[in-house]
């Protein structure tokens, strides 16, 4: 347990060391989201209709942007070797890194969402469902992202490649997350979508670290 927390603490400390590098993801989230009213016009009904989709897509992109810092720096300076040699199973180390990634990108995005939703004229009735869906979905984004990041360690153009690999896998999360928010707009309960998001999280939590650890072992050979 202490090794697990040590990795989480280390990643958090590194993320905020150089004057708030860790805040870049949430800054991107806010900036990219408020580009949309400039692009599609400020008409409130139109914005309210597409706001859940915009928020989800931009949250997804913000999560992907932070992925190349998950394993790459540690792999380059040899820390990943030490992590692999430690008594903590490599799969748990991956979970620790995903948790740190989520705390630096997913959680701040979640906290920023109500403010950005206000600017995108989102129907306030659907905000709780949107936030609940994002709370379930953003960890899944981090988990799938870790698989992509681990498999592309040492690849040419690894940063762009990660997005190509991870985006098709994260489409279902997007579909159900927006579905839950849209159901709330229609004054229905998005319970089915939230349950499916929860199921995806329950499945991704044990399985993604297996794939990511396999990728890390290949990179370290």
């Amino acid at each position: 347990m202490s090794a697990f927390l040590a990795i989480v603490r280390r990643d958090l400390r590194l993320a905020f060391r150089q004057g708030g590098d860790g805040a870049f993801a949430v800054m991107f989230f806010v900036l990219a989201a408020i580009l949309f009213p400039f692009g599609i016009g400020p008409e409130p009904e139109l914005l309210a209709r597409v706001a859940p989709g915009i928020l989800w897509v931009v949250a997804l992109l913000a999560a992907i942007l932070a992925l190349d810092r998950m394993f790459q720096p540690d792999w380059e300076d040899g820390t990943l070797e030490l992590i692999r040699l430690s008594p903590l199973p490599l799969e748990l180390a991956v979970v620790a890194k995903c948790l740190a990634h989520w705390l630096v990108t997913g959680l701040p995005v979640l906290l920023a969402t109500p403010v950005v939703a206000l600017m995108l004229r989102l129907d306030p009735a659907s905000l709780p469902m949107l936030l609940l869906g994002m709370a379930l979905g953003t960890p899944v984004l981090s988990l799938f992202g870790s698989v992509g990041a681990a498999l592309t360690l040492g690849a040419r153009r690894g940063g762009v490649l990660v997005s190509l690999l991870v985006l098709p896998l994260e489409v279902p999360v997007l579909i159900f997350g927006v579905g839950a928010a849209d159901a709330a707009v229609g004054h229905e309960v998005g319970r089915a979508q939230l349950l499916i998001l929860g199921a995806m999280l329950a499945a991704a939590l044990p399985l993604c670290p297996l794939a990511a650890a396999a990728g890390l072992r290949q990179a370290l050979e």
Binding site: L151, A155, R156, L164, L165, A211, G215
Partner: protein
């Protein structure tokens, strides 16, 4: 069955020559037969002769999924048993699978434009097949993204297994969701609902497509192994040339 016998690339190269000689005519015969039978079917009561697109679209769709299942299985074999030819089979099957998926999407789009009045719709079946297409492209991108080819193949094998979760989603998408795409007519509990007049040409084309896939796969695997040999020979040539060149430069 002792698959270790097939792990020797040289033995594969030898065995593939008679195999190709059988697969090529068999595929050609079945495809020709399928097309002949297809053009002899009576027109559909609603679609007329547009129903003929089905004889390309459905086998292409079946091959797209079969190729990915083959890819995932070969990747699993490569990761678990380190079978040297399994990775080669997987990376050479991927472009074929992507091609079949593209064929499926394009013929489906043409068929839908005529029958549904729309070139595309974001229902579960079409969306999941589009995701399958991008999974193929992602697999190929990862496999070729490393300077060390072996590393690329192994990383791509893990990715192939992760993406295999999409296959049951595609298959059951028409049952789980309300889709514009019609529900299953052939592979379903209770047997096919397709009339035998259409079923026989369809199955013939499907078998022809499968043999075509097998033929192209063996061809591509041979090409891959020959490329590897050429690369090794080039590296050896560079090595031996380097020990000679400095003296030549000085003299």
């Amino acid at each position: 069955m002792d698959f270790h016998r097939f792990a020797n690339p040289a033995r594969f190269m030898r065995m593939s020559i008679p195999l190709l000689r059988v697969l090529a005519p068999a595929a050609a015969v079945l495809l020709a037969l399928g097309l002949v039978l297809g053009f002899q079917v009576p027109p559909d009561y609603k679609q007329g002769m547009t129903v003929l697109i089905m004889f390309i679209h459905v086998p292409a769709a079946w091959m797209a999924m079969f190729a990915y299942a083959f890819l995932a299985a070969a990747s699993a074999v490569a990761l678990v048993w380190r079978h040297p030819l399994a990775e080669v089979a997987a990376v050479e099957a991927a472009p074929l699978g992507a091609g079949f998926t593209a064929l499926c999407l394009i013929t489906g789009s043409l068929w839908g434009a005529k029958m549904w009045g729309t070139w595309w719709v974001w229902d579960a079946r079409l969306t999941s097949v589009l995701v399958l297409f991008f999974l193929y492209l992602g697999y190929l991108a990862l496999a070729h993204a490393f300077d060390d080819r072996q590393r690329g193949l192994r990383a791509a094998s893990v990715l192939a297994l992760v993406g295999a979760v999409n296959l049951p989603i595609i298959k059951f998408s028409v049952d789980w969701w309300n889709t514009l795409h019609q529900p299953a007519s052939v592979f379903r509990l209770g047997g096919p609902t397709l009339s035998t007049v259409y079923l026989w040409p369809l199955l013939t084309m499907a078998l022809g497509f499968t043999l075509l896939f097998a033929w192209l796969l063996v061809l591509r695997m041979r090409a891959h192994l020959m490329e590897r040999k050429i690369e090794t020979l080039r590296l050896v040539a560079i090595e031996t040339r380097q020990t000679v060149q400095p003296q030549e430069a000085l003299s």
